[in-house]
Subunit: 231 residues, 4 copies
DNA sequence: AATGAATGAGGCTTCATTCAT
DNA sequence: GATGAATGAAGCCTCATTCAT
């Protein structure tokens, strides 16, 4: 996807804008770049298209960015920032672990929904670009480490299966949520968000053996306690 | 486009080879195409590169394929075929559900490992190509439906939580396995296969509440029963 | 073709230039295209050759034209425009029909001389391009209808054979002039323009039975009145 | 149209076939070549297409022809031969000059109808190929000289305007007939053959002042004597 | 800063011709 | 002779980037 990524940068890096107008133009290009990536994918992500969507001439693109890849980095940074803020579960929520898990999964799913498009596109290019790979890794790490900590705390509180390695478990369950979002989106399976969030949360809870979760000791209630969503 | 000042585009579709030599050349191009896709991704997937890897001139490429995309279809078909055969769990294996699950996950993980690269690349292009989308969907469906059936049987046998919707569950857990393979591979998390397969299988089993699985009733054995692999 | 693994072909249509420089470059490409068509015919008409003659890089070609064929349209339009203006007989000329006829034929011959080359080339391609066919038709129609009117007026004035269908006659005699220009040019018959114009005019006049034309009642003067040019 | 025509022939010319089968294959290729030229024009005239229409493999093409252009020469020769035989007015026809003229024009028109397609295509290539130019010239010459002789005889017999230069006149009137055929065909003017032949013949006759032709002394009969065909 | 014209490396594809079988 | 696979020069076009205004 990304072709000439390793080439030596001999060029003077475009400086950050000093004026307000310049800053706005630059932001506009990043927003436009992200929109295009999300809507048209990598092949549509051309400086000309980005400039057009941003409403500036294509020459202007190079006033703010050294190259396409430079913009891609900025877009990815912006995506990462947004994801971080939008997916946090506010601290004033209930203390019930399962409820928090459900809420967390819902936010995660929504946040990834947009981010994943960009991340997946970037991953293709990351093969040849160490910088991109680092950034993707950092974004994932953000979630994995947060989730790892959550699992560890539950284990320490005796609320989750202590036999599980927390990080690998976090990776696995985070992968599940991310990929489900992608699969359902891409392949147009007709599940609604609530059904998906419900199932993911129950599977997640059961997987780590969360105490007090809906499916705990399902034998007692052969009909299950959750809503069995249909496809 | 305005005009094709030429004959009506009949574009004699590249015929399947009639001779053995031709068949071998064609196969070679598909193999080469797959290798390049896996190693260099879409941008490296040029007719010229493919032909070079296959050891023929680029003109030969067009003896057998209409276009780059035509070859992509063939590569994807080949990947699908290989995945199908290589990921089946031989019927003469044990009847213990958990053992079967472990074996199935191991095979799935291995098979997806190569296929996923191609599938992910193709997915990017699938946005604009109904044919590709169909093929990706079919490949996934293969696994989802097989897995859905497995879950349903376990539920009917009273061995798994009957409150789960089998297909959504299959999608979620399949997603987990697929994405874990990708994340670990791409982001170079240093887990070995056994640890990963073990954890995935335990998470999977616990998620569906599989009777007789290692983590069933983990409270009884606070140390857990599985090997807690570390990163 | 199977797939365009890329963004939906929006193919931002080459815009008309907004600056003077751009306009000049565009004109230059049209002029260059015409020159090449006339001198080297269709096979020489490559974007690269045109750009070279115009003194720009071939990339610039695509700044102004979507394709080779797009330029062809522009060239043809330019040829048509030039023909129209250059072949009009100024209104202040004599009223003597034969003198007007001679003048008209001379201009027609000259104008067609260059245009015909382009028109004939275009006709080959017109088989597959409705737009081109239309343009060729319009160019011809310009002359046919003008000529048809001329004949009709002469008939109504009692100066020409009223038994002739004006339009078919106009087509036939126009065809004669056009094709004579071509044959003489292509096959290098060594007639000079005056001799040709003289003969064509006399044949034309006699064909429609024009009153007062040189060959009217030729028996009275067995030596004829015109110059008998030799090959 | 014809690209690399001047390149030195270093190749051993394919010999004429010795066997009957070979001769038939060769003829078949010529016929196929002509069909393709007429139906699809120059761009469709590829060795592969020709071979396919002829029902042989494309390798076989080069058994009989050195190159595409070699075949073109053969096709043109075949067209020339056919035209010659098909357009002769049988000697046992009436001696009335006008009737012979009408018959001659009708045959000419029909014969050119097919030939002209090929001739016009070839003319495009003739720019760069001396051999082709010669052949086209010879085909035309056939008609021009025959027609020149006809006119000269009429003049000597006192039946046509002796003030006209016979060859230039022959070229002009022959051009008229040829081009009318083309214009009507290409631009789809809806005249039927009889109307066209009638008009062409009357124009031709009047142009040379043929004694005893329908429009001679049209003033005596203001309604004209011919059928005024309409479009 | 902004503009938009200009550049040219590089990609995809065609097709006339050659060659091994 | 016949076959059809193989070849590669040459064409068309895209698009990231530079540059003159």
């Amino acid at each position: 996807m990304i072709v000439r990524m390793g080439r030596p940068r001999t060029k003077s890096a475009p400086k950050l804008p000093t004026t307000t107008r310049g800053r706005r133009t630059r932001e506009g290009l990043i927003v436009a770049g992200r929109e295009i990536l999300e809507r048209q994918g990598w092949p549509g992500f051309t400086p000309e298209a980005v400039a057009q969507v941003a409403g500036v001439s294509y020459g202007t693109f190079y006033t703010y960015f050294e190259s396409k890849e430079d913009l891609l980095h900025s877009v990815l940074r912006s995506v990462a920032g947004e994801m971080f803020t939008s997916s946090l579960v506010p601290p004033d929520t209930t203390d019930d672990p399962y409820t928090r898990l459900v809420e967390s999964n819902r936010r995660y799913l929504r946040a990834w929904d947009r981010a994943a498009k960009v991340v997946r596109i970037v991953e293709q290019g990351a093969v040849a670009d160490e910088g991109l790979r680092q950034m993707v890794l950092e974004i994932r790490e953000l979630y994995v480490s947060r989730s790892t900590e959550g699992i560890r705390r539950l284990q320490e509180a005796g609320l989750a299966n202590p036999g599980l390695e927390p990080r690998l478990t976090a990776i696995a369950l985070g992968s599940m949520v991310e990929q489900v979002g992608h699969v359902i989106d891409t392949l147009a399976e007709a599940y609604d968000e609530d059904a998906v969030v419900d199932h993911l949360s129950r599977l997640w809870a059961a997987a780590i053996g969360l105490r007090g979760a809906p499916d705990e000791g399902w034998t007692a209630d052969p009909r299950g306690s959750g809503s069995a969503a249909a496809g």
